[in-house]
Symmetry: D2
Subunit: 337 residues, 4 copies
């Protein structure tokens, strides 16, 4: 079987993550080209993983007939343009989230995928996490009965700078977007209504910048189930990532991963490991697995596990949450779409 040639557009942190997964864990593919407009980022990635060609212009990748698929790892505003150009050039596309902050542009991407027949996968890596995926399987295989309540806790270890918060589009689209997608993944259906609470308790400068750093959002799902997500930009004990699904036959819930299973018992108490602090430590396996699935969808010509519908709905929910917060009322998804 032919080895797939992958082009990576954007050689930042996430570009390097994908390069590592492909190079070390996916023998069916290899990184054949990498581009990044900034400094020597592309060269560094190329040297680190033995990539034969690199440049500052992503069109070098799109115009290369040997490239089978493209990973779009650039800043959000460019995701849609690059994805569309790549698909039109016949490449399969893996696009990081969010696809775009404009629903219009996301729909353009969807349309191009449909017209070109290219594979298009969106980078919701948490769906591939060993813990969350296990909960989802139990929710979908009937073990839990009909789903009634979904709860997601997602708290970052450390807050971003106020500057980042100001430019990020806000917590709902920058951070909670993962949880919106996770909620629909766990429920197995879309959301119909959102009510958002948000406040700035972590860093007042985030509030001054017009964003929130602590938030609770409730969800109504198409199947009648209820859901709730809580986010904080700072958890003193580490990166807190937990989900719970409650149904007519029972409940499945996961706990955080620690570095070890050791418990230390002294006069001071019984102490276990804190949750892993860094998202790449916590979620590295999920990044590798989403990439394996993308490659497999291409080689086996099967459906991608996370399509453009997820890319669209997660942004819709983020917009609905922002509108709910601004207008202090529940917002129907139909108001946004």
């Amino acid at each position: 079987m032919k080895t797939l040639n992958i082009g990576i557009i954007g050689a930042g942190r996430i570009g390097n993550v994908h390069a590592e997964s492909i190079t070390y864990h996916i023998p069916q593919a290899r990184v054949a080209r990498v581009s990044d407009p900034v400094g020597d980022s592309a060269r560094k990635l190329a040297e680190r993983f033995g990539v034969p060609a690199y440049s500052t212009d992503y069109m070098d990748i799109i115009n290369d007939p040997e490239i089978d698929a493209v990973l779009v790892c650039t800043p959000t505003p460019t995701h849609a343009d690059i994805s569309i150009a790549a698909m039109k050039a016949g490449k399969h596309v893996f696009c990081e989230k969010p696809v775009h902050t404009s629903l219009e542009r996301i729909r353009d991407v969807a349309k191009t995928a449909e017209e070109t027949g290219r594979k298009l996968q969106i980078g919701f890596n948490r769906r591939f996490d060993h813990n969350h995926r296990h909960v989802q399987q139990l929710a979908q295989d009937g073990t839990l009965g009909s789903i009634e309540i979904i709860k997601i806790t997602s708290r970052d270890p450390e807050p971003p700078s106020p500057e980042y918060a100001a430019s990020s589009g806000g917590l709902y689209i920058d951070m909670m977007i993962h949880d919106f997608d996770m909620a629909m993944f766990l429920a197995g259906c879309d959301v119909t209504e959102v009510y958002a609470m948000g406040t700035s308790l972590v860093d007042p400068r985030i509030g001054q910048a017009g964003d929130v750093d602590t938030a609770i959002v409730t969800l109504t799902f198409e199947n009648g189930a209820l859901g709730v997500i809580d986010n904080s930009r700072r958890a003193a004990y580490g990166y807190d990532q937990r989900v719970e699904v409650f149904g007519s036959l029972g409940m499945a819930a996961d706990e955080n991963d620690g570095d070890s299973t050791v418990r230390v018992s002294t006069a001071g108490g019984v102490v276990s490991d804190k949750p892993q602090f860094f998202f790449l430590e916590r979620y590295m396996q999920s990044f590798t697995d989403e990439m394996k699935c993308f490659i497999q969808a291409i080689t086996e010509d099967s459906e991608v596990p996370v399509g453009i519908h997820a890319g669209l709905m997660s942004v819709v929910l983020a917009k609905a949450a922002k509108k709910s917060l601004d207008e202090h009322r529940p917002v129907k998804i139909s108001e946004i779409m």
Copy 2:
């Protein structure tokens, strides 16, 4: 020191619970009288715990000058009348929750307590639970820093009959009232706004009776923290009672109590005990401890741990939740009070 003479009005399940606590665990008090209008309930309680006098008329207790304190364990509509009569007769009062469904009557009770100077404790036993109380202590002693998010899960093992649901006043006042009180107990302050979701997923007849059986309610606290409560009338795995407080310095969360700590590992999996199923099994220690505190407040002339403010605010929140559900919008507490 003189042994306190306690009169129990209402010899149903909860009356028996308190009689057991006093008889076996509180040497400073004894049950001297019991009354119940129904059949021979009073006689049975008297025989079971060696109570010297019983009758069908609660005025026998209120008129007995030897009685120091009265436990009001009757159906909800009579709580206020009996409490007021007892305090006016000079008795200290322990009143089960809810005090009344009318805020007006609750205020009457409060006023009487103030005028007579009698002790008045409300039966929010869960505040005395070993798990929840430990979380509250960590929230209040500064271990968790400033409080930012409070989460409460409360799910009954089995749904009530649709008839009960119809006559209970609804889930928010019948079931979630405990959680409203717990939320304010954990936060150390009142709630300012409520948004309620509710639906009938457990038993359609509950929905037909105009009630909900599955609910999520979000809270805004006076101190700026956010909160969320989820309730279900049925959990297949038992009585699910968990709280979580998240603050600037960390998080405290409890787990359910099981019958043992045993884990069984076989080819089928690693199996632990389910949560205790019956509320009296789960919360018996808390019932005893609330009674100890009530007796202590009398003998030491100190403040009761759960006063009428808690009795009032819990009903206010239940009413706000119902209004929120009906009007599909967040409701400010000031709208209710």
Copy 3:
């Protein structure tokens, strides 16, 4: 049904424990007499639990025709004499462990029980502990298959004084006797051979007094299974009481009980409760349950759950362990019996 009249001989700590169980939790029985030669111990117990008669002479109990059963809660050297006298006077007997340090005298007690037909139960309360009993049930009901390995950890929170250690008969009979009984309880059969290690690491004065404070003893069971017990006289984190049974189909193991299920997550780690520190806190429920079973064996004329065989074998194992330590070799039980 007639209420059983119980006489308690010995009004020390364990006598009070049993009085509490009977008074508050066993309506089928009442403490009718108590005796203790020391000071006003008997009077204090009588007042505390409303016992109508007390004295310094235990013969007042044995000679009272109204007494149905006797609890022997005196120092070890008197257990056998009092038990024999009581049974000869027609009383059922509950005798604390060890029955005696002489196998001859234990056999005398056994013989008397057989001749008089009286119930005779030995005070191995841990068999009634909610955790250990659950493990035993899983071992005996076939869930674990055929038993292959049994492990018991038993560590006291604080060491005794060197004086106590010197006079106690040594760790194997004073402390590990509980674990020897537990091992046979879990295995469902006797032990055939013992190999003992022991050393003094906790307090050198214990070693100077000729005793050990840290010990590991291995066991061979009649059914071919292997076992190991480890003891320490001091665990910095509390009273450590755990058992594990491993069989052909799986393993059951218990954990210590804490005061709550709360976990606190901060920058310093994830902290859970320490094991309960005091043996009465940890094992109070088991003391009550062993007494319930004793009373039930009398009222229903059924077999006692812990008979004299257990009283004998536990001492045999303690003696075998001591001999093994002294002679630095494995010792067969047949060498002792």
Copy 4:
């Protein structure tokens, strides 16, 4: 810095494991040659990991002046000869355990290492396991105070064939050798005496072949601490790998790793993941980390973390255990050495 050229001698399972670690996780080294006398094992490994040269004769590796270090992954009887030859040819050596079943030959290997000054690391990978290593750190950094009791549980998921058991040298050297090394690693010192119990409960054919499949071995350490290891060739619930260190200030214990942290609560119970079943799944990270340390010891000219003393002592303990079982008595290590 120059990339180290590694030669792998023996292209079986463990040879492939090391090749994977070096190829994907250790940029400072590369596999330059591989040899295996059997069929096309060497070719397959070479193709799988892009190794430029392979052959059936390990002397091709030893004679290659470009090779810096050799991994000895052959059957046990050849470990010593190959290691000695490689060191004499100037190569650093990583040798799988056991080094040899003859103490004489192990000493020859040690002598060669000393004379040639080559690095020599023994393959006790479990020392690098995230769980066990954390316990060891707490034991060695003083958190636990002075060490008093060490307990190790090590149970395979499935028994070997009786033929394998017969040819393996027996459980003590084939399986428990890892635990002997772990015990000394945790204690931070050697063992002075061993007492071994062993029986065949899992598969009678293993007993007929002269081996045991269920074993408990107690240890006395140089520092006065006591220890115990239990082994079974079959655990119905998976690969059971746990250690516990108890000291004057507390205890550290680890639990097995599962595939996820999910707990499922249904009417049937609360179910968690079983221990990971396959040793490569459970210990892959430790294999990679031991190899990283070996490479680092070469590049930084520092001491290897697991030297020939560990290789010698583990075999000494295995021999002492076998002698103890055969002679049914405790055996001093000095009797073996």
